[in-house]
């Protein structure tokens, strides 16, 4: 089954992190991605820029409204995602545990086959 792991968290520490801290976090993500590759489970993913750079396009009543900011204002925002292939929820949870993010939301990708 395919899942998307969403790395969720408070963005501030990351925005304020110095180069050494960033390098350390990137190294941890690197190791996580290596693990996914070794298990043939990684199916791509990305880091997302700060939600302050987000733009939301909302279509209501035939009108298109473009606004600055993420779709939901919250302290915790999605900072990145990884798509994985796993045997089931237990394996997805195992990968989420290994993921460097402190909070990980697991979302199954529906099978439309």
């Amino acid at each position: 089954m395919r899942y998307v792991l969403l790395a969720v968290g408070d963005e501030r520490p990351w925005a304020e992190a110095g180069p050494a801290e960033r390098e350390e976090v990137y190294a941890r993500w690197g190791r996580f991605e290596e693990m996914l590759t070794a298990r043939d489970a990684g199916r791509g993913g990305d880091e997302l820029a700060h939600s302050g750079t987000a733009t939301t396009v909302r279509k209501t009543g035939g009108k298109v409204i473009v606004t600055d900011g993420p779709y939901a204002e919250a302290t915790e925002q999605i900072g990145g995602y990884v798509t994985i292939e796993a045997a089931g929820m237990d394996e997805a949870i195992e990968f989420a545990r290994a993921c460097p993010s402190d909070v990980v939301e697991i979302r199954p990708v529906p099978d439309r086959g």
Partner: protein, 406 residues
């Protein structure tokens, strides 16, 4: 007719979980398995008597056939090719036991606590949705929606049908024990409504505990949970007075305790607890069972070994770090070493337990015994502000009325 219903009911009680577990493994679809098995039992009501030689095998074959019919109908409706026609398998002589897989799936941590409880009672306990709704005092439609949502999540999120292995097993086993104990505590000390004990719910939890013990033998915490439930459950007839009011442990008529259940629990405990007093207990359930056994085996309330109980609570507090355990330890220490020593242990619990009437009630009782009635009056007042069920409220009111201050 009534005889056949009895035979079907008997078969339902004895075989539901095992048959559902096996069908789910075969069909890889919990919902389909449940509906097909339900159909098979409905068919049995009309077809029995004569009762077949091997009732569970008959039910299994019937359910498999119903599942195939359902799958065919869905395939035809969807315009797909009909499924291959497969010869019925011969009736099995023995049915493999897949119940552990069913239990671990129903108690999966990716499901909400409410859903775990409802699914476990439905799939493993074999209760109907209506029965579960009644036990939890919610409308049947609400309970049906909860169970449907949970089954949908199992399918869509890929919650596996497996018994966890390795280090995962211990963690997930704790989750299963917690679900069973949650069912039990809801029955033993109902959090809402006008009744204090719902024996039927507690009895279902005990039955689940027995099943777990059969499936996970030689696990001291599984033994501990069953012993703990039996020890509490054995006191059910003595806990409430004639008009449904709470009777405190020291005032209970001990002749009304179910001695057979206590003896069973004590023997479970004896074989699983650490053989030397210095050895640590393996987990919280066995410890709580040991505490309950101290109460249950005292001939009179005055014979209770409070020092032993206080010591066990101390170990439980170290293990769990729980404020509720600390509260219970304080009560035990008050009995062993005097109300002043107990009262001191209640300090610092208001932050965590301020909304819990038992903290205020315990403080009130200890203050009363120390002769500090004015403070006791205040504490009863705070307990009454947060108490949940009517019988407990009545009890607190009567205790407060006994104070000489107003």
């Amino acid at each position: 007719m009534s005889r056949s219903v009895t035979a079907v009911e008997q078969a339902y009680r004895r075989h539901w979980a095992r048959l559902l577990a096996l069908l789910t493994a075969e069909l890889r679809d919990l919902d389909l398995a449940e509906e097909s098995l339900q159909d098979a039992f409905a068919a049995a009501v009309t077809a029995w008597p004569p009762e077949p030689a091997n009732p569970p095998a008959w039910l299994l074959t019937t359910a498999r056939r119903r599942a195939l019919d359902r799958l065919r109908r869905v395939a035809v409706a969807a315009g797909k090719l009909p499924l291959l026609i497969v010869d019925d398998r011969p009736e099995p002589s023995s049915i493999p036991d897949e119940r552990l897989r069913l239990i671990f799936t129903c108690c999966h941590p990716a499901l909400s606590a409410d859903a775990r409880v409802a699914l476990t009672l439905r799939c493993v306990g074999g209760l109907t949705t209506r029965e579960i709704a009644r036990l939890f005092l919610v409308p049947e439609a609400t309970m049906a929606a909860r169970i449907t949502r949970a089954k949908k999540k199992i399918a869509q999120a890929g919650i596996p049908y497996r018994v966890p292995a390795g280090p995962e097993l211990a963690e997930r086993r704790d989750g299963v024990l917690a679900v069973v104990y949650l069912v039990f505590t809801e029955g033993y000390a109902a959090t809402g409504g006008d009744r204090l004990i719902r024996e039927d719910l507690a009895a279902e939890a005990v039955a689940l505990g027995r099943m777990l013990r059969e499936l996970l033998p030689a696990d001291p915490e599984v033994d501990g949970l069953l012993a703990l439930m039996l020890l509490h459950h054995a006191r059910r007839d003595a806990r409430l007075g004639p008009s449904g009011e709470l009777v405190r442990l020291p005032d209970q008529d001990r002749s009304r305790w179910h001695r057979g259940e206590i003896a069973e629990a004590v023997s479970l405990l004896e074989s699983s607890r650490p053989q030397h007093t210095a050895d640590p207990f393996p987990g919280p359930y066995l410890l709580q069972a040991a505490i309950a056994a101290e109460h249950a085996t005292a001939t009179r309330a005055a014979d209770t070994d409070w020092s032993a109980i206080a010591r066990l609570y101390g170990e439980l507090e170290r293990l769990t770090g729980s404020a509720v355990v600390r509260l219970n330890r304080a009560v035990a220490v008050a009995e062993a070493d005097g109300p002043g020593a107990g009262l001191a242990l209640l300090d610092g619990l208001d932050h965590e337990l301020g909304r819990h009437h038992l903290l205020h009630a315990a403080r009130a009782e200890l203050l009363r015994r120390l002769g500090r009635e004015r403070e006791a009056l205040d504490a009863y007042g705070r307990a009454l502000e947060v108490v949940g069920t009517d019988p407990e409220r009545a009890f607190l009111l009567s205790r407060r009325a006994e104070l000489s201050v107003r």
